[in-house]
Subunit: 245 residues, 8 copies
């Protein structure tokens, strides 16, 4: 059947939408057998296709990266190991690795959001890998970023010292482990959306980030929403969407 | 000590910031013994003080509402029972109760955000109480709202049917129980921030909303953040901050 | 735009599938404001739209039932209270209520699957409400059903006594609480698919059905799959799809 | 055997300590069949025997209270219902009931600790029942108490406003639900031991107090220890022992 | 006693069934000391005895495989390491190893089910090891298989693109980690039984597969049942039983 | 087929044991439609069939009790409500109800075990319902019982006072809520098997008995095993089997 | 004070039992600084002091073993590594290591319990390490043991084949992972106490043994009690106490 | 603005406290980019800044240590590896490492608290690393410490033997894994505050310390409060604050 016939039948109610869908030609897909790249994602969602490297082989990561590169899509791989970077670099020499953030990035886009900056605030030095993932991702998506590290609530004057920088951001990403109280305190002091990222920093009753996650979800401050444990990437994606408004 | 002396001592490093803080005069507080109203909250955080009615007596709710009203603060009480409303109404006759949303509202402010609207999308009819809490809160905060109900993924064409209305919003609140898959599907189809509200709709392995919560936190779509289970209020607060950008 | 134009644009890659979707006319939807009936579900999925009554008001249940009835769809409401039934009966006098199964049914379809029967096996008398929900649903979907009750593994000869009846079914639904061991034992004795339904029967370390759920998921027998705790309805749906093969 | 003989045998190693123990005469026990009052507890542990009323009948509570009263022990019953109070009052007319704290108290002791006071700080109005249990218990044990309510971190200046009163205490009890962040913030601002009491105030991911409990256990502030959820009584006991040092 | 005497006594009610059982001669067992092979399993359950290699030594795996091979039973070992394969190969040279699926297979049977095929659909590239275990197992059991990889809901048009292939299967195995939403979406689009396999792909609130497991169990689509986390083998076993109907 | 033919075929390996089983005549079963009484249980397991009343209707309990009574089986129903007792009493006038233990008992058997007694030790007064269920069950099964109540470890001399009575038992049932430490302490002081029964007495981090359950399972004393939370019945059954050795 | 004076004062009520205790001379203790050997344990509890090697250094294990050996106590170390054995062997050449059970044993005692045997029944080959720990411990304690391996319920005739051997034991230890159903099935077929040992054999929803643990705790068979996950040692200890009755 | 102007504006209510805070000059902070040292902590909280080494690189630990040393702050790093110590030693040659406690310490302060000692009591030898962390921290903070090891409740006379030493302390830290019962027993025998430290010593249902944590939180003894699992450091900090009263 031709697309026209499909649509006619659907219009007449002879076939269901589902049946129509499965017969429509497909755009925005790049098939690789073990992977199906969503080349249309940025146009549709405002966020490009990226590579979640965990659980993939170094070869798979490199092949996907190369194919995206060939299709003119900027490359971001998260949770990437040095071994993966080595493979990627063979195919895309200009790719850059941040070993703390565990990101591989190759960016050709010139887009820069000039509306304001995203603040990435981390409670402790041990939260830096997650914070850096957020910083790298946010910059990859064209945002200006200011980072503020080691200002946890046990010494709250450290936070006050940086409050102006934080309050002037358009969106604030708060990265904290242990009890995650920093997001509540900041949420009570700023008039911008706070995106909270619980981390698995801590031990015992931290339960790999659960204490921070629950603390952030039940925050007594109202303008706080939460992403997955250690998900600096996801927080930066949402922050970027917000920062474009 | 006078404020000036305090500041001088702090400036000279003779006292700590903490010691300075505890001696500074206080603004933005209305003390009621059993409650301490934060009259300064809206100026500071962009969101006014509200009454979380659960766990308070009807009398306490009414007294706080009246005091806020006297101070010129618009009143919103969430998780309010009909008994609480009865008490409030005695003191603030114009207050309005939404029994589905369980909100008591008295609003005098004329502020209306004209930048665009917030979409509140609910997966099922049983999710409506939470969705309505979000709708009432968002309107109370001066936002325009469009609501879309009963478009869960088991019949995904119902969602497509409303997709344009959803995509044109500036922020999207997705309310869903059970497996909470709706936020992933919408997150993959729009280029605006999605705030996901898991609900306790379901039974068994839903564990009072845990399945939806975990599903939303681990969503494969990138622009999704999450608030507490059944927290329509919090999602609307965050959405309102975003919608003002 | 007309459907034809939409399709042409999509075909030429000018718009994305998503954009096409949101502009296509819609079939198979019956909008009621608080609910959106999926009238097309049976054609699409082999299972008709049904009403999950929990969390809805009696009025909502009755109105949805009536609208479905008007559209010629057979009515099944699960988790329904006597109050809901009272409301439904006013609008659909022939509807039948099973207080143990908590189902409301009105069926006009004449379809009967003649390929064989579904066996519903329950470990204990206290598991009967869940088993009955499965029996009612399976019959509503046109299947022949044989039920076997109170044959838990603590007295395994009770099971052997009924083994022939169980082995001759085409699909077997096993309903059990406590440790849920019955599904493993039956799974090791039959050559047909076993659908296990954990129930919340038990106390303490049963944790409202968790012990049975985990036991069934980790069953050492290979041909067993599991549905949600107390989900007799879902097991019957799956069994019906299988029984039609 | 006489105590002397027991001891001789033990001394010579002919019997074990355990065998010695079971033959020694007993002091400090008041047997009532369904209960065994530990009349020696205060001398041994610094805290008198008290009645945990939950799960006991009103008659049992009253009978234990009366027997303690007869033995000259001051009476404190926690988690007591009005019905229990009614029964107790029949036997001990002077007993006093605090319906918010759910305590029944009859105290004849004149002991007052004059070393300083215990501060009881509660994050929200809904935390007051737990805070009041702590206040009543601490006073019953002879301590001076200052209470500070509704100073949660969402409006942190409310806390600063009371900081002097809190810092001047010898021990600080912090009562908070939701994310329990108040104990971390106070822990970082004072040089006295902080006893944190998580409450079940909140909903959803609060999980009946778990979020506050985990947050307090993983607090980034160092001088914080924690008692059971809603255990205002236990915090006051610990605070009283500390305040006597 | 001879079997006849046993049966006579049982018939007369002199001994219990249990006593009869323990005295009956045994068929269908192959004893190896550390293992007891169930040589009768395929005749009884439609699924042959297989080796769950995890927790066994390479030597144990090889010895069991060899004994099964000697008894004319086709060999399938799951969760097998390369070391195990090395040992098996020494004894059964024709055995084949799939390092992604971690399966060792030696199959002599000629049986091929010609009723239709099983579709194995995986949400992401990282889910492939589990999907491959399902594919290998289903083929070992004589089924035709079609696999569809990397069609997660974040780019739902990738799924529509393959919908016809999926809808034409007789049984569909859906393999997904993270929130596991794919099974709900597919369950709402097909009229065949869907067997959902949650995977441990993800991090943080995925909790080693729990988020996907709960999401699949609470799916709003009705024709979905679930197996253990990462249990591609079990899904294929049940799919094979269904496909034979 | 006659039993003889079945056996012959089985002996010759023509049919499997399973096939033999399903064709054998059945003894020891009393079918009631909604229930299948295992009349053979005592002979087989040393413990008679009993009625777990929870989740059954009062009528079902009474009918099962009557049928057992007619078959000469002594009646024990656990978790029984006063309404159930009322129904049972109509049919079995001599039945006795213990409202604390929630047991209905009618016993004609004269059997008394004269080997020694079972000690039932409860940590607190609030644990008495569970302890009484154990006492009633153990006596129903023909054992002599000594009970010791309110000897929790917070006043350990209360325990020493009763140590001789406890040490002289043949089996010891320890019933405790909260942290369940009593089983460890007793386990370290006696040379008889200790059966620990965790109870749901407590609040907060007790999590309905979980703290006691985990504490008893991880006891540092070696001779302790555990039954389900609040399962006084099960502990008494196990104790009775042991006491008969 | 002399022991006599202590006792006199205690007798006269001048000091508490606690005060008496702390002044009494001590027997049955062997102090080593980092360890305090309970040399009196066997006399008191019927079970000797043993070494739980996990978390200790090889040197600590060896030193404790040697000291016990010097005091004439037979040596059993559980959870011991080959490195620990190497160290022990240097000091106690005759010690024997079982690498599967991970036990080090040196036994001089001639005691053999002649009342009957303990049956150790394991569901699968992968459960053998735990079963062997039970076997080694039970023999160390002087019991005769019969072991039955790989008789899980997926092939229940394997169990019937061994039923006589199992039924003739005085106590039965059932070791099983996955869903742990074997203990329920055996519990329903024997009239002796069953001690269930859940193992961490399995994956996914097994949650390191939780599924088996919960299944065994909620067993529908009455004469079953449970020990900690993988605790073959503890089961053998209790079995030995029971077997001595 | 000058500090004076800030304060004037705040005094006049023109700016909020928050706005004042963010403009005040800062004391007590030492910025290092990746870390922000709280040099003012000891003055403010009675406890100096310390280094939580886990999750930091060896270089970061060494640099922070050096900077603190330069500022005249005594150095304590917890959870430190030998590699970290090596780096620290290069910069601070006098630093001392305790490999059991995993602490690095360099202390110049002469302060010694002469009010009394802290008792650190550990249930088993395997709990020593946590106990040693408490001992090292308490001494670092200027306290006298007495330690008592391996006195778990399975051999309770070992505890009585040391009771006098324990009772004479001003604060008691109890370190225990498994069921953590030791804190309840000691709590019932002393009249001083008990700080309980659950450890992850144990296996299976210990769940990495959860059983001990819950047991301690739900202790039936009243004067017990709890810190995080394995948090010997935190217990020592609070004990030190208490010991200074």
């Amino acid at each position: 059947m031709s697309p026209r016939e499909i649509l006619e039948q659907y219009k007449n109610g002879e076939i269901t939408l589902t049946q129509a869908l499965e017969n429509l030609p497909s755009h925005g897909i790049e098939e690789m057998g073990f992977a199906t790249i969503d080349t249309d994602r940025e146009k549709r969602t405002g966020l490009p296709e990226v590579i979640y490297a965990s659980g993939k082989t170094a070869e798979q990561v490199a092949q996907i990266a190369e194919r995206m590169h060939q299709k003119g899509i900027d490359v971001l791989a998260t949770r990437a190991t040095p071994e993966m970077y080595e493979e990627v670099q063979k195919l895309i020499p200009g790719a850059v690795y941040n070993p703390l953030a565990k990101t591989i990035i190759y960016r050709e886009s010139k887009y820069e959001n000039d509306k304001g900056y995203i603040a990435v605030v981390a409670a402790g030095t041990s939260d830096m890998p997650v914070a850096e993932e957020a910083v790298e991702t946010a910059r990859f998506l064209g945002n200006r970023v200011e980072s503020v590290y080691d200002v946890g609530v046990a010494g709250i004057h450290r936070l006050f010292h940086k409050l102006e920088l934080i309050r002037n951001a358009r969106v604030i990403i708060v990265v904290a482990g242990m009890e995650g109280a920093l997001s509540s305190v900041i949420g009570g002091l700023v008039d911008k959306p706070v995106l909270a990222v619980p981390t698995s920093v801590g031990y015992g009753a931290n339960f790999e980030g659960v204490s921070a996650l629950l603390g952030m979800l039940t925050s007594c401050a109202s303008g706080v929403s939460v992403v997955n444990i250690n998900n600096g990437f996801g927080a930066a994606c949402q922050a970027s969407l917000i920062n474009k408004l």
